[in-house]
């Protein structure tokens, strides 16, 4: 499953470690929320970057205290039709100021890429190879955005306001 | 929405599999040659749940050609002619039951 990170297909440094498996010595790992919360101190003390996979039907409250020490948070799209992770992503970025890797996992398809980027994801575990290859093209599909999110894209409204100011300045 | 294969298949009489053609939405019937036909006379008739399931599986896999397949009842006359088995299939085969506003050519 190709990983698209920061706009390009990239090698994935993280390893998904199942709950019943031992953690490797060193290296970046992704563990489930349940495993993490059992002993966060120990996991954080471990050598190597730590990422947590947070389920989409659970509030972020229990995760928030650890955000500044996590290298990655992975959110879940069990079906591409289930949009709860979009809210979680925006809250992590915009409300809690999370700056680490924010990864989309599960059913991640081309037609949701732009929504995911706008919600704050910067890494996507893409289901189909062909979708990953089309990423650059897909990300450029739209140039106009109505809503402000934390992604920094200028909204249509801002552009109109800028235009008005420059017109009235003449 | 659950896929038709996830639902329990119940046959109460002779049945067929019908769907809509992907490219233009036309009503089609699964025929006996692993394809689709717009002619109800070509529809493959199934008479029990296993046959129906097999035909439906085939149809679902062929979604490049037709979408939304499901099992529908048919009536078979004495001389073997296939007719729609309920009002819904009658309407799909024969079109609207109402008068529309007159439309110019």
């Amino acid at each position: 499953m190709p990983l698209v990170k920061n706009g390009k297909i990239a090698a994935d440094i993280f390893v998904h470690v199942p709950d019943d498996a031992e953690l490797p010595q060193g290296g970046a790992v992704l563990v489930s929320a349940a495993r993490f919360l059992e002993d966060p101190k120990a996991l954080l003390a471990r050598m190597g970057e730590l990422g947590v996979i947070w389920p989409n039907n659970r509030d972020l409250d229990d995760l928030v205290p650890y955000l500044d020490r996590l290298a990655a948070v992975a959110l879940v799209f069990p079906s591409f039709r289930d949009g709860r992770a979009y809210s979680q992503a925006r809250l992590l970025r915009e409300r809690h100021g999370y700056t680490g890797e924010l990864r989309a996992t599960g059913q991640v398809l081309r037609d949701q890429f732009l929504f995911m980027l706008r919600a704050g994801f910067d890494a996507l575990e893409v289901k189909k190879e062909s979708d990953a290859e089309a990423f650059a093209l897909t990300a450029k599909r739209y140039s106009v955005f109505y809503q402000p999110t934390g992604d920094g894209r200028i909204t249509a409204l801002n552009r109109r306001m800028q235009q008005r100011h420059s017109e009235s300045a003449r | 929405m659950t896929s038709p294969l996830e639902q329990k298949i119940r046959i109460t009489g002779p049945s067929m599999v019908t769907a809509n053609r992907t490219i233009d939405g036309a009503v089609v019937y699964r025929n006996g040659a692993h394809g689709w036909s717009t002619d109800l006379a070509q529809a493959a008739v199934v008479r029990n749940a296993e046959q129906a399931r097999a035909l439906l599986i085939e149809a679902v896999a062929d979604d490049i050609n037709a979408v939304g397949p499901y099992i529908a009842p048919v009536e078979i006359s004495d001389d073997g002619k296939i007719a729609p088995g309920n009002l819904r299939e009658h309407i799909r085969l024969n079109g609207l039951t109402i008068d529309l506003l007159p439309v110019s050519a």
Partner: protein
Amino acid sequence: MYAYDELDRTLINERVEEFRDQVKRRLSGELTEDEFKMLRLQNGVYLQLHAYMFRVAIPYGTLSSQQLRRLAHVARKYDRGYGHFTTRQNIQFNWIKLAELPDALGDLAEVGIHAMQTSGNNTRNVTSDQWAGVAPGEVEDPRIWSELLRQYTTLHPEFSFLPRKFKFAITASAHDRAAIKIHDIGLRLHRNAQGEIGFEVLVGGGLGRTPFIGKTIKPFVHGRDLLSYVEAILRVYNQYGRRDNIYKARIKILVHELGIEKFAAEVDEEWRAMGDSALAVDDAVIEDIRSRFTYPAYEKLPHMPEELKKAAHDPMFERWRRNSVFTHKVQGYAIVTLSLKPVGGPPGDATADQMDALADLADKYSFGEIRVGHEQNLALPHVAKRDLPVLWKALDKLGLATPNVNLVSDIIACPGLDYCSLANARSIPIAQELTHRFANHDTAELIGRLHINISGCINACGHHHVGHIGILGVEKNGEEFYQITIGGRADENAELGVLIGPAVAYGEVADVVEDIVEAYLALRERPDELFVDAVKRLGVEPFRERVYATR
């Protein structure tokens, strides 16, 4: 009329190109139907009994004549020469081919029409009062706020995959013509004691399997906070709305299960956490949107022009004028409702020829503007009274002047089993038969205001729950049966109708309706006691008795 600027148009075109690519990938097999279905729904493309159905958005029910002509063009080029106006101010084409849809969308995009989010589990067309901007006594044009909401909800990255569909409606008049109480979010625009613009916000209205009237979550949200407050509601719904059962997935279920107080508390908590929001709607924002709304340069016209005095002797004209012409906020002008419910016709349909001819009439007599109402009629919102006689003649020739607006034969009906794959029973032939039974306009006028709503299944697209007489198609042993309710209403006094008894067979529905009407005529206190008020006063019993006495 809102004029799309370059940014709005660019977005629509980018959407068309995205969909073109998605259709290509579907037809090549790269996308399965399971993957494609949500994408096509997000562009208003349904699969129905005979064909695909294409639902085009008419934001807050406002069309320019140029846009109406383009709809006629789509009907001719890609469909069978007609379209159907819906209970959400949209238009549907019933025979469209998937392969041709991107071109149809491209043709529509040229005049600023789109089909974004007219279906799917997202935020749908923001509907409003079809008399917005011209109704006397209106606080402010609600379409400005509708457009603000339209932009905010279009391709919202967080809310494009909600548990279920989400519908908004806005009214700015004391009399609610937008049915805000049966919407997921209903907004009543008004001024507070300080004279500031804001909204009473209602949530959790909706029909279908479990109908609910919306509950007030906040009596006044300042205009400045509208978008941030809406975002808080949507975020709570997106996270906590049920996703395990599509029949329990609307926000009305969440509101009902939590209770309005707890739900309001959740929303408030989220809203407060949002803090100073980038979504604040300051005056500059509203001015910007308002600046792209143009209003007619009305003339100074007399209240009673000569042309009208002269035409008053024509009883046919007078009947139509009394029925279909409504008071405008500007003296000398009128709002004209065009009935799309001719005797024997399918309710809400218009042919391409009618659309083209109406576009010409709109240019001549209504400053190029047409409106679409949720009762599936059209309106010309800016007609000079002096033009009414000549307009009427032209409308009559086109079949758009049936004087039955708001009367018993002005029936609201979903497409039903003739078209729709969700339906259990047909609705259009029931409506057609009823228009024949009540074809006599004197009788219809005698009966007075009476809304009949027909739905072919429990999804209630015909809004039968809030019909004065509601008719719901069900299936019993392979036969079409119909449940009848009475006493519903969709306005500011919204109420759900009450079942009068066991379902009746297809062939009996028109007789039953006649019995109900006869009971009303016999029992009403005065000729001007409306049917729906008589039901409220008397309860269902007398009507039930009359209908089921011999059945």
